[in-house]
């Protein structure tokens, strides 16, 4: 498995391949479509993330000292964004995640190009992932 830094850099590189925001969104949409299936039974209110205009469920499981995330949403771009976060953070130790500053999201410029409600949703996703990590430390 690549390191956390490598995974983040890979996302930054992928994003910088596209000059146009429309293309970056097309990339997010593709990521969203490729998100691993989520168990319908896990779509419970306690897994709903607040702050999203669309609904987003995020589940965290701990195996062998590492955190694994799965998620689903009724909106494809939300799925793309969470897929990007899962790609970077799933399978890491709680210490690694809790110690990270999540600044690569700022680097790729995603936050500035989301609607305020979606940006709040993104902040909530990050907060939730951090909380899982802190609780499991």
């Amino acid at each position: 498995m690549n390191t956390l830094e490598e995974a983040k850099q890979a996302v930054i590189d992928d994003f910088s391949l596209y000059d146009e925001w429309l293309d970056k969104y097309e990339y997010l949409i593709e990521l969203g479509k490729g998100l691993e299936p989520f168990d319908q039974a896990d779509k419970t209110d306690d897994k709903l993330i607040k702050g999203c205009q669309s609904r987003l469920w995020l589940k965290c499981e701990k195996k062998d000292g590492r955190l694994y995330f799965t998620a689903d949403s009724d909106a494809i771009i939300t799925k793309g964004i969470i897929s990007l976060l899962i790609g970077v953070y799933s399978g890491r130790t709680p210490e690694e995640i809790a110690g990270d500053d999540f600044s690569f999201i700022v680097t790729i410029g995603l936050k500035d190009n989301l609607s305020p409600t979606r940006a709040n949703g993104l902040a909530s996703m990050i907060e939730t992932i951090k909380c899982f990590a802190q609780d499991e430390r």
Partner: protein
């Protein structure tokens, strides 16, 4: 004026987003501002900054004249009996809060009934719910018919001796269908019940004559008719303005203040506590002028509306809410099978198309339609057929990107 000349008056129409020309189709949320409105604002801020109705100096007199001239112009625009029927507020929401609070205090008590149509914006629901909570009054919902129209016969069944007011929008900000206000007023008045009209959308596209409609209250926002933001109007019949108590206390609205007892100014001033929005309210004058000028673009607007309506209705992936079998404003709210409204709005944004997604401040209507939200394209007379075509083309592309 030709549409090209009109468009030149709106600088924002020539800006770009993400390197693409902006196609602004969120006019039902707020309209763009013409140069005349900006010039008026700048003139007031640069040359006529002074408080109104008080000081005796020259600039204050000029500021008062500008402000009161706007009141006259608005009265004329609505064909109100007098400029005294016009109360300035910060917008439709503020107007309805005023009515709910002030009319409510005078006329609504425990067990009384407030009838609200199912198509209302939150601004015409929440102030009444707050009043009901304070007083113990009861809210009755006037449901839409199956064809999403408001039926006068359904309304009549709700009216009774305890009904104290009927609240309805001139047109829904989601469905865009024009409500038969005149007929509803006649019906309610037969039962001696006043009608409070939310005109936020209606004022933009309909010629409003409050005496012909015979409504008791009519509210609208300046920013949706091209005026500066933070301006609003509450028209009311004199008989209500006389009987309603002041809503907020402060300067301007008093006749005399002593520690023992304060007496209030006459209407409309008793409802305008504190320094009003003196720099922005006069922009209603050039804004109304622009609105009236744009009525000459009726033919082009009709062509745009019928093109969009046809394109949306003929696409099997799209469900349009609020069809055109009666008078409809150029407000098109729809759902797309298999694509979330927010995804569509985000993708269209990247193509330069600005529109609205979500509940559109009408959650009860969304529940009725059984949707979590919709996508809404709303047009102004300055929108061209080319923009409409570009929107339809981009919508098709966005749907393909999201569903295949």
């Amino acid at each position: 004026m030709e549409i090209k000349e009109i468009r030149n008056e709106f600088p924002q129409l020539s800006r770009t987003v993400y390197g693409k020309p902006l196609v602004y189709l969120d006019n039902a949320a707020t309209a763009l501002k013409p140069r005349s409105v900006m010039a008026c604002y700048e003139h007031l801020a640069a040359e006529v900054s002074s408080n109104i109705h008080r000081s005796v100096h020259r600039v204050s007199n000029e500021a008062t004249a500008e402000f009161e001239n706007a009141r006259k112009r608005v009265a004329e625009f609505l064909n109100a009996p007098s400029e005294r029927n016009i109360v300035f507020t910060s917008g439709t929401t503020d107007s309805i809060n005023l009515i709910a609070s002030s009319y409510g205090q005078a006329f609504i008590g425990r067990g009384d009934e407030i009838v609200i149509s199912e198509q209302e914006h939150h601004s015409d629901i929440v102030p009444w719910q707050m009043l009901a909570e304070r007083t113990g009054a009861v809210i009755k919902v006037w449901k839409l018919e199956d064809d999403l129209r408001l039926g006068p016969s359904s309304l009549e069944k709700l009216l009774g001796p305890k009904t104290k007011i009927v609240c309805v929008s001139h047109a829904s900000n989601v469905l865009g269908i024009v409500t038969p206000i005149k007929e509803i007023c006649a019906l309610c008045h037969r039962h001696n019940i006043p009608v409070c009209v939310d005109g936020a959308q209606g004022i933009v596209h309909c010629k409003v004559d409050v005496q012909d409609l015979d409504c008791d209250f009519y509210s609208f926002s300046g920013h949706k008719i091209y005026a500066a933001t933070g301006t609003g109007v509450m028209y009311a019949k004199a008989k209500w303005l006389e009987q309603m108590p002041p809503y907020r206390g402060g300067g301007e609205m008093i006749a005399d203040v002593t520690w023992e007892r304060t007496t209030y100014a006459d209407y409309p001033f008793k409802f305008e506590a504190g320094t009003p929005n003196i720099t922005s309210v006069p922009t209603l004058v050039p804004a109304i002028e622009m609105l009236e000028q744009m009525r000459s673009l009726e033919e082009s607007s009709a062509a745009v509306a019928s093109y969009v309506l046809d394109a949306l209705q003929s696409d099997k992936r799209i469900t349009l809410y609020g069809d055109s079998s009666s008078e409809k404003l150029p407000i098109f709210s729809f759902a797309v099978k298999g694509a979330h409204q927010e995804d569509l709005a985000l993708v269209l944004d990247k193509m330069g198309v600005a529109l609205r997604s979500g509940e559109m401040c009408a959650a009860p209507l969304m529940h009725r339609l059984r949707v979590t939200g919709l996508l809404r394209a709303s047009f102004a007379p300055y929108n061209t057929i080319e923009e409409a075509r570009y929107f339809v083309e981009c919508l098709g592309k966005a749907i393909e990107m999201l569903t295949i």
